[in-house]
Each structure stands twice: as structure tokens, then as C-alpha cells.
């Protein structure tokens, strides 16, 4: 099952390296990983999508806590979240008919054309991963020349990430 994890961490030259090294070392499979600044100075936020069992994902979280700079890790999978990904897709469009077709389809997904050349269109789309997946599969038959996706960023709705789930709750899974 896919889990969306969010980690806040102090910035520093080696932090990302350390996190990535940890994943490589432990053989955790990562679907996507994004990192960027937050509203707090020197605090970075990492969103990652990992595929694995509940226990495997718990290990990921516990291992992340071993990185000294990591302050908080939350699993947003079961929370109400806002999730976004950005994709840029360059599609072949040699004729005007095709171009119109593509434009109509892109419109359904609320995508935007950000560049046009004689035989291609570049489309920008943001949204949850499945929406982007779906648009890409619709565009694929026309011929995708180039594509880039940012990976997912996510935020819990209302309350802040992990606010109701303290560190302790994550650490002490009561099995019994």
C-alpha cells in the first residue's frame, strides 16, 4: 500500500544526503520524494510516497527519526489531505485537428498549455497523482515527447501535519 509521509527537518548541506542514504541502505522503495522550504526559517519539508506494508512504513518512520536533523515525521495516509503534483508534458501535435483535440482534453483536467511550437504542445497540470496519471494516459496515444513530474507534496487539511499524532504515538505502536 502507498503511504504519504511528511517530514520536517532542519536544513543543512548533508541532510538530504543522509535521508537518501538511509533509504538506499535499508532498501526502502520510494515512489517519489520532494523537498523544499517551509514558512519557518531553516526548516525543510520532505514529502515522500513509499510503497510497503504497515510495518515496513513504520520502520521508515523510525529510521527517519534517527536522522538527527529530522524533527517530525507524519504518515498522512489516513488523514484528510491536500495533495498536489505538477507535471509538464510535451505532446506531439502535427495537425490543427489533433491540437484542438488535445486542448479540449487538457481543459477537462484543468491543465494549461504553456508552450506551443509547430509540432508540439507543452501542457502544465497540477493535481493529485491519480489525476495526473489519468491525463498522461489520455495524452500518451498522441505521442509524448518529453515529460517531467515533480513528485507529490502533501499537507493535512485543517490541523497541522501530525499535530494530533505525537511522536510518542508513532513510536509506541500498541499491538497486544
Amino acid at each position: 500500500m502507498k503511504h504519504t509521509l511528511v517530514a520536517t527537518m532542519a536544513d543543512g548541506p548533508a541532510v538530504l544526503n543522509r535521508v537518501v542514504s538511509l533509504f538506499r541502505q535499508r532498501g526502502f522503495a520510494i515512489d517519489s520524494l520532494t523537498i523544499g522550504k517551509t514558512h519557518e526559517q531553516h526548516v525543510m519539508r520532505l514529502t515522500m510516497v513509499v510503497d510497503g506494508s504497515k510495518t515496513a512504513v513504520e520502520q521508515v518512520i523510525k529510521q527517519l527519526y534517527k536522522v538527527i536533523e529530522v524533527r517530525k515525521v507524519s504518515d498522512l495516509t489516513e488523514d484528510q489531505t491536500v495533495e498536489r503534483e505538477l507535471a509538464l508534458v510535451k505532446v506531439t501535435s502535427k495537425s490543427t485537428t489533433l491540437r484542438t483535440e488535445i486542448l479540449q482534453m487538457v481543459d477537462v483536467y484543468r491543465g494549461r498549455v504553456v508552450d506551443i511550437s509547430t509540432n508540439s504542445l507543452t501542457v502544465e497540470v497540477t493535481g493529485p497523482t491519480d489525476k495526473i496519471d489519468s491525463m498522461i494516459s489520455m495524452l500518451r496515444p498522441y505521442g509524448i515527447k518529453e515529460m517531467v513530474r515533480t513528485g507529490l507534496v502533501a499537507m493535512a487539511r485543517g490541523v497541522m501535519a501530525g499535530q494530533e499524532k505525537g511522536r510518542e504515538a508513532l513510536r509506541l505502536r500498541e499491538v497486544s
Partner: protein
Amino acid sequence: MRLNGSQILSKALHEEGVEVIFGIPGGTIMPLYDEMHKHPMRHLLVRHEQAAAHMADGYARVKRDVGVCMGTSGPGATNLVTGILNAHMDSSPIVAITVNVPSAMIGTDAFQEADISGITIPVTKQNYFVRHTRDLARIVKEAFYIARHGRPGPVHIDIPKDVLLNEADFVYPTAVDLPGFQPTFEGSLVQIRKAARLIERARRPVIIAGQGVLISQASAELLAFAEKTDIPVVNTLLGLSSFPQSHRLYNGWPGMHGYVYSSYSVDQADLVIGIGNRFDDRFCGKFSAFAPKAKIVHIDIDPAEIGKNVRVDVPIVGDVKRVLNKLTPEIGECESHDEWFEQIAEWKREFPLKQYPDDTPHLFTPQVINAITKATDGKAYIVADVGQHQMFAAQYYPFEEPGQFQTSGGLGTMGYSLPAAIGVQVARPDKEVWAIAGDGCFQMNLQELAVLIQDRVPVKIAVVNNGYLGMVRQWQQLFWEGNYQHVDLATGTPDFVKLAEAYAIPGWRVTKPSELNAAIAAARAHPGPALVEFCVYREENVFPMVPSGAALSEVIPDTPYVPAAIATPIPAAAPAAPAAPAPVHA
């Protein structure tokens, strides 16, 4: 106060109470050496940086405080890596300091440049690359704090040379600001109570005491807990010496080469209480078949250890000493364990450790360990290397005092014992320290014999010479159809006694049991370091054995003592495992 980086670093080390440093200088680290000699710190000049890290590690384990090692840039730094990883695997608090090429040359493949902080990321608890002299004091403070607190571990600091030469204001910080590093020391009371109820109801409980007991200095608390609950205690390899082996509740150590009755007791337990251990594969055997009938309570300061390898029913995150102090009073009346003790006693009678007569035609390692035990009255600090001799040392020496046994458990680093024993001896000059090494292991760091003489460290060395990479040979014999590939050391091995003498260390050679006592006595009588080479039976095997990937219940017990039988290779198929012990409660 304006100081340069070398002065800041020296002062900071002084503030941290560092008395001893293990290292070797070089081009980039020279400013630090130049400054350090002005401070009353002892520096031991190693002959290989790997040994510096092992010495710091051995020192840290018995001093129960940070050990410091250092090296120059490039090769000096990379040579430290094995020792740092060894410390990481065994939770040993060391601080490793390296000095890199000047900042302006970083990234240019300069002479003796290595991206050592990139290299140490996966082998340290934390590492630092110091960009500015003004950060140095804070970083040293943090490094020692992180190495010591929570689950201990190695921290590496890499400093470009110019950062040592530049000046900054020096004020040593009194506190650290590490919001992401908040180890949990107190166990949750809810969980502790759950554990207490399980303990009261258990009929066949076992305590596993790991190295966490030693790290947390909780041997007295462990003893009180075991006595109050009347539960047998098994050790992990690294936990050996955390519980007095003469105690009636001591129940040996299970696992790959542990005792049969200990393995059976864990296998048949209805409750396993892991204390400061990490359920590693050499201990557990096949994870999916580990203690199949037991509920598992696991106490550890590192939450990531809980549930990592085996399922855990009651996790308690916290410092072992504090948790035990809370847990013991919570426990009321326990079930009787009499039947359980009877069962264990029966296994113990049925599967005793092999004992050897005094007049065997060959010398056997257990005889060596027994003779050292007798001579030292079981009071020596033993540092074992890696291989058959390590397992024999762990099996036969009766440890009583916390810290008496040190070995490379997690990484299994050959060459560990001599340098680590030097660290142990430096930390405990009042103790008799024995390094026990195989001929293979000894040759991996024998250059450190020089340190014994130069720095007057009176470690006694037992080289157990079987002319083989014995443990590998044993596996080839048992699991690779006796196809001995590249394990024969007989040709090319130096005369160890002459070798010791070349370093001005007296040496003795023992080839039969009757010579044991005299040689050991002579080595002990010599006031400085001494070496005894024990030429043991070449094809000796270590049993009991849980083959890798097998369950504890599949432990192969000792073969009886018959030299001729041992000499014939055991057929390709490993001897049939004995039937699993009968269930205690039908």
C-alpha cells in the same frame, strides 16, 4: 577570547573531559598536533588508523564514555572507516576527527583529499563537515552530546585545514540546541504495567540481557529484576558480563554458537523479555521461527530497534536502567517457575558444554580459555577477536563483572582484539587485559604491537593458532562439502614468538595441554605486554551451532570429544538436528 581553530578544538576536547586520543598525524592535521601537545592530553601513536578507531571503541566500552580518535585527510580518514562502522554496529560512543584539505581545494581532487563526510554518512550516528571556525566549538559540543546520549554511537567531524588556522571568538557552549534529537529515557507507564501483568502470568519466561544493560550501567537493576521475578537470564554475545555467571539465574547465551539449553529455553519460552538487545540474526536464528510460543516484551532506548526483526507485543522505549527501576516495583506475585527451571536443568544436563581431559594429544582452544580462566581467577578483561576462538572465549570464560568481555559483535571485524584491548587497558589500567585472537585476526592489526611498547600498555595476547581461517574452514567443512578454499594460513604465517620479540615483547609457544599453565604464568609474571601462541588442533570445530537460517530449536549440539572423529570431515549433509525439545506443558 580570539583563538584559532586548533586552539578551539583542543580547548573543546578538554572541556569534554577527553584524556586520551588515539591517532596518527599527517599533512593537514599538523596544526592540531602542534597545538595539542600544549595540553595535558595523552596521545597514543597508532600504526594504522583503523586501530585508532578500535582503540577509541574499546576505551569507550569500558570507560562508559566517549573515545576519541583522529587521522589526517584522505587515506588517514578512509582508514578510520572500518573502525567507525564497527563502533556504529555495536553502539560505541566515539568521536572521530579528521582534517581535510583547505576549503579552497575541497572538491578539486587535491592531494590526499577524500569526501570523507560523504563516506561516513551511513556509518555514523551523525557527522559534520565544519565550514567556519566560528562553528567549531558548537559542533564539538554537539558531537560529544550526540555520541553519549540516547543510544550511543560514533560521530565524525571533518575539518578543512584552514578552519584550524583561522580565528574566531571562543566561548564553549553549555547547552546544545538539537530539537530533532530527543531520546526517550522514561518508559511509558502504560506499557510497563502491561509488561508487568505478562510477567506475573508467565510460566516459562526468559530474560534476554543485551549490551544495553551494560551501556545503561544497569547490571544491579537487572539483578534485582531477575531475582524478584525469579526469571532465568540469557545474554546476547555483547551482553555477556552484564549478569554474573555464577548466579543461579544465569542461563547462558543462545544463538549461533551459544549453549544448547539456552537456545532451547528461548525457543520454548512463553514470555521473552528483551532488555537492551536488538534481536539480531546470529542470536535469533530464523526470525519467523523465533520463540514461537512467546509473547515478547522489548525494552530499548532506540525505537527503531523495536519490531525491526521480530514481532513485539509490548514495546517499551526508554533507558534500560530507568525502565527497570519502574518495572520491578510494578510486579506483584509471579507464577511459580519451578517446572521451568527443572526443564532447563534437564536440558543443561543433557547438553553440557564439551569438557576436555588434561592429557589430550592435541591442544584445544577451550583448554586454553580454561587455563587463562584459572590463572586469572576469572577476573581478567577479555577482548576477543572474530572467529572460532571468539566463540570459545565467549563459551568458556566465566564473566562476572560488567564490561569484562568485549568483542566485535555487530560487524565481526577481524583485527579488532589487539587495538580494542589497548583501548580497554588504557581505560582500565588496574585490570589484567587479555586479547584473544586467531592467527588470521592477529595478522590483520599486528602492527599495533608497537603501541604496546611505545605507550607502555601491558596487554597480554593469546594467539590461538590453528593455521587456518578457522571459522571459514568450519563452514567449508560443514556446508561446502569440505572444499577448503583459501583458508590455509600455515604457509606464510610468521613465527609469532619471534615476531613479538622483534617488537621487544616476550613470547611463549604452547603446543600441548601440559605446557599451558607455565606459559600463561610466565606471561602474567612479565610486567609489560606479553604474547603466548597456542598451537591448537587444526580442524577443531565450534559447537553448539545453529546453522545460518535455521531456528534455535535446530541447534546442533556438541559432538562428544573424540579427536579422530573430529578429524574426519563431517559428511556434506549436516548431522540431523535433534528432535525439537518436547513441549513443557503437554
